[in-house]
């Protein structure tokens, strides 16, 4: 795996740039305690998700067993091993949102994007998530796209909203 990673990096300057960026971070932080989680965080920022190559590479660079790296990545929900879309749509199904029609909103989003929670659309535009209460119950039902919160959603409104994101 590591050997053909090198070959692949030589063929793919974009990927190489990402690994170089990760390298810079590791060089700065690698000596610190608990750096594995920080490094994985940074890697996810750089790559958008955590490809297998990156797990393997980080284990080697930090001299941590591969199984430990995989254990950490599978333990924390915020690490993702599948590519994320450019935007994350989180539909709230907490109690308040649920009773005020959150699930009809969720159904419409699923139908429009053709994906379920945890999945990413073919065109990599959206990743769909389900959340339980984002603390905006007064605006229920709520949808969060990236860092913006939208309240009083209806199935029709949410479709118009999604169209605004490229």
């Amino acid at each position: 795996m590591s050997m053909n990673l090198e070959d692949r990096l030589n063929e793919n300057p974009e990927l190489k740039k990402q690994f170089d960026e990760l390298d810079v971070y590791i060089d700065e932080k690698a000596s610190q305690q608990g750096s594995l989680i920080n490094v994985m965080h940074r890697a996810q920022e750089i790559f958008g998700y955590l490809p297998d190559d990156v797990l393997y590479y980080v284990a080697k660079r930090l001299n941590v067993p591969r199984s430990t790296v995989y254990g950490v990545v599978t333990f924390y929900h915020f690490f993702s091993r599948v590519p994320k879309g450019r935007h994350t749509v989180s539909v709230c199904l907490g109690t308040a949102c649920y009773v005020r029609g959150g699930s009809t909103v969720y159904d419409r989003v699923m139908k429009t994007l053709g994906i379920k929670a945890g999945e990413t659309s073919q065109d990599r535009r959206f990743t769909l998530d389900l959340v339980r209460c984002v603390g905006a119950c007064g605006l229920a039902p709520v949808v969060v796209i990236d860092k913006d919160t939208y309240g009083r959603m209806t199935p029709d409104k949410v479709v118009t909203l999604l169209n605004k994101y490229a």
Partner: protein, 592 residues
């Protein structure tokens, strides 16, 4: 500084126990009261994962885990209240919710801690519904072991043994909460990662979640085939452990009964891996003498243990030239049987099935290594064989447990069998071959031969006490007629790693190092009977050294059949022919 003694009350009686003692130890050692445990493994796995060991402490609201909680002055502990019993029972029932509960067909039904606990705690029905909707996939990727995550209770013993004792870190807990499993990097499976196949995880697993890849059906098939000549070889450590499987006392020397039982199973020849252990000493001993005389790469490191060999290939690929090129005794045996013996007896090597009985799960992997087909190459030209007709040097490997199982399946009453001898010629061996089964044994056997060959004098005392015993790393200076030979012995891969890091840095002070993958050497191998006696390794080791002391010949180079095989077939030790047949090569596995 003297440890303070604390006054504690356990189940109403007063005891004095040293400060720092856990409730579990206080109960078991001082009060002689057993508290059930499942995940606890002293010194190795003490994570408090199962909560089976809970006890009631006066004044504390919640039940406490006895394996983690330390006693304090005036503590009042109750280990057997109805609240405690109910909690333990509930915890076992929770563990069983997702469990297949197929004890009837489970490999471990006779010695499963989970099944025993369930029965002791009076679990009759499990009221909890399954939380998993599907069965988890069984890991079948390894040539040595099978992991069934559905039977796993997440006690973490295997994870800790692999990491702390073996320093391999092949497995860990993946995922979280009720979705977690013990798995490998990317869930690739044991056969695709750094696992060295040692089976130490299997030995500590309290359930049937880890078992060996069984070869019993293949062996029955061969035994039932009238066209095959089925030959069995038994490793040194098997004879001092197999008796345990039949209720004989720990440390019984069951050599004669084992030979008789294997003969009753229908093996055509009952031979002994001790013969090829003697052969290994000749080859490895001369390799050592050669490297010393010719300024070769030192230290020389033994290569009998396939778990250790894979470890070296995976973690120390840059210093593989230190590892002896000798095949393991198992593989030497297979090669010699299908070349020397086949030729001598006029038997077509393709008809011979070599079955080895080993204390080891890694040997199942070793026999499948693609380079272990030397006998085929020896015959290929002579018999005009095509590449597709290639056969392995060793066909089947049974663990000690599997061999015992076959003996039971055949209805043989092992303990009351008469003692019988091995067959000739490949059943002839010396005390030096026997001690291969204990850590330090290969070293001692090699020293007996190297000393006499180098000095041309007889050793006054054959016992090299400095290299015996169960400590993780032993070292000694051996005076060979004025020349000091610095030697070291490591057992368990965590200890091996320590010595190998010195070698890698070029700082190793030694000339010769023996490394055995399993703690205690082969007698503690992953294929041995599962024992709950904490002194089991000591018992087996004592039996091995008794066996050695009782042998008429105790030096490999004096084995008459060894002299004969060199005279009639191999020529000199390390001759070209010997190199071709008995030596091997290694590969860099750091990328696997």
């Amino acid at each position: 500084m003297e440890t303070r003694m604390l006054n504690v009350k356990i189940n109403g009686r007063d005891y004095q126990v040293p400060d720092g003692t856990t409730i579990l130890r206080a109960a078991r050692e001082y009060a002689k009261i057993d508290v059930p445990t499942l995940c606890y493994l002293e010194g190795i796995s003490e994570e408090g994962a199962c909560a089976i060991c809970v006890v009631e402490i006066k004044g504390a609201r919640n039940l406490q885990r006895a394996c983690l909680t330390k006693v304090s002055e005036g503590m009042e502990v109750w280990t057997n209240t109805s609240r405690v019993r109910e909690a333990r029972k509930l915890n076992v029932e929770l563990l069983l919710a997702n469990h297949p509960k197929d004890c009837l067909t489970c490999e471990r039904s006779q010695n499963c801690d989970l099944r025993e606990l369930a029965s002791e705690l009076g679990v009759r029905e499990v009221e909890f519904p399954r939380t998993r909707t599907e069965w988890l996939p069984v890991d079948n990727t390894s040539l040595s072991l099978v992991r069934d995550p559905n039977k796993c209770v997440l006690c973490r013993r295997c994870v800790n043994v692999c990491a702390k004792v073996q320093s391999v870190y092949a497995i860990d807990i993946m995922g979280r909460g009720s979705n977690s499993t013990v798995s490998t990097f990317l869930d690739e499976g044991l056969g695709n990662v750094e696992c060295v196949n040692c089976g130490q995880c299997l030995l500590v697993c309290p359930t049937g979640a880890i078992t060996e890849r069984s070869e019993i059906p293949d062996v029955w098939k061969a035994l039932g085939d009238p066209d095959k000549v089925v030959v069995v070889e038994t490793a040194p450590a098997v004879r001092v452990a197999i008796g345990e499987e039949f209720g004989m006392p720990d440390g019984t020397q069951a050599t004669g009964k084992m030979a008789a039982a294997l003969r009753s199973l229908g093996f055509d020849e009952v031979f002994d891996t001790d013969f090829s252990a003697d052969l290994t000493i000749m080859e490895e001993g001369f390799e050592l003498i050669g490297r010393i005389k010719n300024g070769g790469v030192l230290p020389l490191i033994t290569s009998c243990s396939p778990g250790w060999v894979k470890f070296a290939e995976t973690f120390f690929p840059k210093v593989l030239d230190h590892v002896s090129t000798c095949k393991s005794p198992q593989q030497m045996f297979g090669t010699v049987t299908k070349t020397y013996w086949a030729e001598k007896m006029g038997i077509d090597p393709r008809k011979i099935v070599v079955v080895s009985v080993m204390p080891c799960t890694a040997k199942k992997f070793e026999k499948e290594r693609p380079e272990m087909k030397t006998a085929f190459h020896y015959w290929q030209e002579k018999l005009g064989l095509k590449d597709e007709e290639a056969f392995k040097d060793v066909d089947c490997v049974l663990t000690t447990r599997e061999a015992a199982k076959m003996i039971r399946e055949a209805g043989i009453d092992f303990a009351s069998l008469p003692d019988e001898d091995f067959d000739k010629p490949l059943g002839e061996s010396t005390g030096a071959g026997v001690i291969f089964g204990a850590t330090g044994g290969v070293m001692e056997a090699a020293l007996r031969t190297a000393y006499e060959v180098m000095t041309k004098k007889s050793l006054a005392k054959l016992d090299f006490e400095d290299v015996r015993g169960l400590e993780g790393i032993k070292s000694a200076d051996i005076d060979i007629d004025g020349t000091i030979l610095k030697v070291a012995v490591a057992n368990g891969l965590g200890n091996a790693r320590v010595l190998m890091e010195q070698v890698q840095k070029g700082e190793s002070p030694y000339h010769f190092i023996e490394i055995m993958c399993c703690p205690g050497g082969c007698l503690g191998g992953g294929g041995q009977p599962i024992s709950d006696n904490p002194d089991i390794k000591k018992k087996r080791a004592e039996a091995i050294y008794r066996e050695d002391a009782g042998k008429p010949i105790r030096k490999s180079h004096e084995n008459p059949e060894i002299k004969k095989i060199y005279k009639d077939f191999l020529g000199e030790p390390n001759s070209e022919k010997a190199h071709h047949l008995l030596h091997t090569e290694y590969c860099d596995r750091s990328c696997e």
